[in-house]
């Protein structure tokens, strides 16, 4: 699969029709997607209509937009006009159809992108693994016996497999950055609220954000521009970007390759220790539980047994927490955020692992944290959750490691500094330190998808 930018350039120039791009994409999906358990709804009719609209604009001599004819997918929690928004819950298949597309989807359509599929996730986004009791476990394209990560695992898997050049997910505590790391992609958690959340099924609104997955930095930048309606400035002769490495728990639970990369990038730069990181993660956990529980309380009262059992019990527990506890966590958050922002005042980018390890096996989904084996579904977000708690932007970038399982780093910035993160990532890309690596072995072909509409 070509990059989004390359496809758009070909379509805009009239070299290729958007409809031809789409038909090739649909054939590829039919041939290769099934083993990934990533696509839940193939939207071929809608996609053809969108592609024809793009081709019509080209034929009229109009500019079809910066994403002209680029096929993409969205996590199952984005509203799509005329379809129920399932949020990964099988029992919501009969929910009333959405009246209109989510705002992010609308902006992509305006830019010429062509929506092809909706994608698997942990039910109601409550997990780091895309283990969905009803819709199946999404598999990692780099090794089908391993997890893709979650909760936006379907979005990551289709991009990593080269089936689509980009996809949208959502990140509440790490749901974009974790699968981006495990699948070897770029994945963005923006400054909280920077990308439009209208029409996105919520999980914990204090932390929810829309986040794109791409296989190249250039594609990530154009998506950012389309979704925000802004232009990323070229840095020109700006002052050098000030970088620090996060120490403490971030280094204690990391793959040696991540530490080597971080030290190669910024070995002479200070090790910054964010204080009370464990307290921050716990407060984030409590706020998430309270908000998720409150959101689902009414539905649980009548449909509890329709939920994924593990998700149900977590949501029920959250629904029973006293409001005072959430208030206490919010107060801690407010004080903590001010302290950390002061601590990073002299830095532009903080470097940290995105996940503590490579993708765990589906058969034995455990990872080692502080020397103990812990459930991957629970602890894969150990390094992303505290950053979420602070509302900071964080770009997951893939270490260049051909032949190895993917691993990512987080480039963390101050609020509103996504362009700085892109600029620093560009430096790393230019130095050959980061890049998405296609899966080594091709996916088994011939397992054609069936039963999808």
């Amino acid at each position: 699969m070509k990059s989004a930018l390359a496809i758009a350039q070909s379509v805009r120039s009239g070299q290729v029709r958007a409809l031809d791009v789409l038909e090739a994409c649909l054939l590829d999906i039919a041939d290769r997607a099934a083993p990934l358990v990533a696509i839940t709804r193939l939207l071929a009719d809608r996609a053809r209509a969108e592609a024809r609209a793009v081709d019509a604009r080209v034929a009229r001599g109009e500019d079809p937009g910066p994403l002209a004819g680029v096929p993409y997918g969205v996590k199952d929690l984005f509203d799509l006009a005329g379809l129920p928004t399932t949020a990964g819950a099988a029992f919501r298949a009969d929910a009333p159809p959405a009246a209109r597309d989510a705002e992010a989807v609308r902006r992509l359509r305006e830019a010429g992108a062509v929506l092809v599929a909706s994608l698997n996730m942990d039910e109601f986004a409550y997990g780091f693994a895309t283990i969905n009791a009803h819709l199946g476990t999404t598999r990692n394209p780099h090794d089908l016996s391993r997890l893709a990560g979650g909760s936006s695992g379907g979005s990551a898997a289709v991009v990593a497999a080269g089936l689509l050049p980009f996809a949208l997910g959502s990140d509440t505590n790490g749901s974009v950055r974790v699968p981006a790391s495990l699948c070897g992609l770029y994945g963005l958690k923006p400054t909280h609220g920077a990308l439009p959340l209208e029409g996105v099924f919520p999980f914990a609104q204090s932390f929810d954000d829309v986040g794109p997955f791409t296989a190249s930095l250039a594609d990530m930048v154009v998506l950012w521009e389309v979704l925000t309606g802004t232009r990323v400035p070229t840095r020109g002769d700006c002052a050098p970007i000030r970088v620090a490495r996060l120490g403490g728990r971030f280094r204690a639970n990391a793959d040696p390759d991540q530490l080597a990369a971080i030290d190669a990038i910024a070995g002479e730069r200070p090790l910054l220790e964010i204080p009370e990181i464990a307290r921050a993660r716990s407060a984030a956990f409590l706020i998430t539980a309270c908000e998720g529980g409150a959101l689902h309380r009414a539905t649980l009262a009548t449909q509890a047994m329709d939920y994924d059992p593990q998700v149900r019990d977590r949501l029920l527990a959250g629904a029973l927490l006293p409001e005072a506890l959430r208030t206490e966590a919010e107060e801690f958050r407010s004080e903590y955020r001010a302290k950390v922002l002061a601590l990073m005042a002299d830095q532009d980018v903080l470097l940290a692992p995105a996940t503590p390890c490579t993708a765990p096996l589906i058969e034995d989904p455990r990872i080692r944290i502080d020397g103990e084996l812990r459930p991957a579904r629970a602890d894969l977000g150990i390094h992303t959750q505290p950053i979420t708690f602070l509302g900071l932007p964080s770009l997951a970038v893939p270490l260049k490691r051909p032949g190895g399982l993917p691993l990512g780093l987080q480039l963390i910035g101050k609020p509103g500094t996504e362009p700085v993160l892109f600029a620093f990532a560009r430096e790393l890309e230019d130095k050959g330190m980061i890049a998405a690596t296609p899966p080594g072995a091709p996916l088994p072909a011939g397992t054609r998808m069936g039963g999808l509409t």
Binding site: D122, A125, Y126, G127, F128, G150, S151, D171, T172, N173, G174, S175, V178, F203, A204, I277, A278, R279, R281, S282, A283, A284, F285, L286, T288, A289, G292, R297, L300, A301, A304, M305, P309, Q310, R312, D313, R314, L316, A317, G318, A319, L320, L321, P322, A324, L325, T327, E328, A329, F332, I369, D370, R374, P375, R377, A378, D379, G381, I382, Q385
Partner: protein, 68 residues
């Protein structure tokens, strides 16, 4: 005998015993099907551990927990 519950400077409590969980559920109008009770109790224990951790006790955050 009831299990101990965490209380802190702000006094918020995580219900832990079966009785306390049932009482909290009744107060909020939440129905707890029998099949959920064990799982809910386990999650309440996890939440209590996170409450300890947030308040700065030694319970560390090796309590895990999902919150993607």
């Amino acid at each position: 005998m009831q299990e101990p519950t965490v209380t802190g400077p702000k006094g918020a409590i995580v219900p832990r015993s079966a009785e306390a969980i049932a009482e909290a559920a009744a107060r909020r109008g939440v129905v707890l099907p029998a099949a959920c009770r064990e799982g809910v109790a386990q999650n309440m224990a996890l939440l209590e551990a996170h409450l300890w951790s947030m308040r700065g006790y030694e319970a560390s955050d090796r309590t895990g927990g999902e919150g993607a």
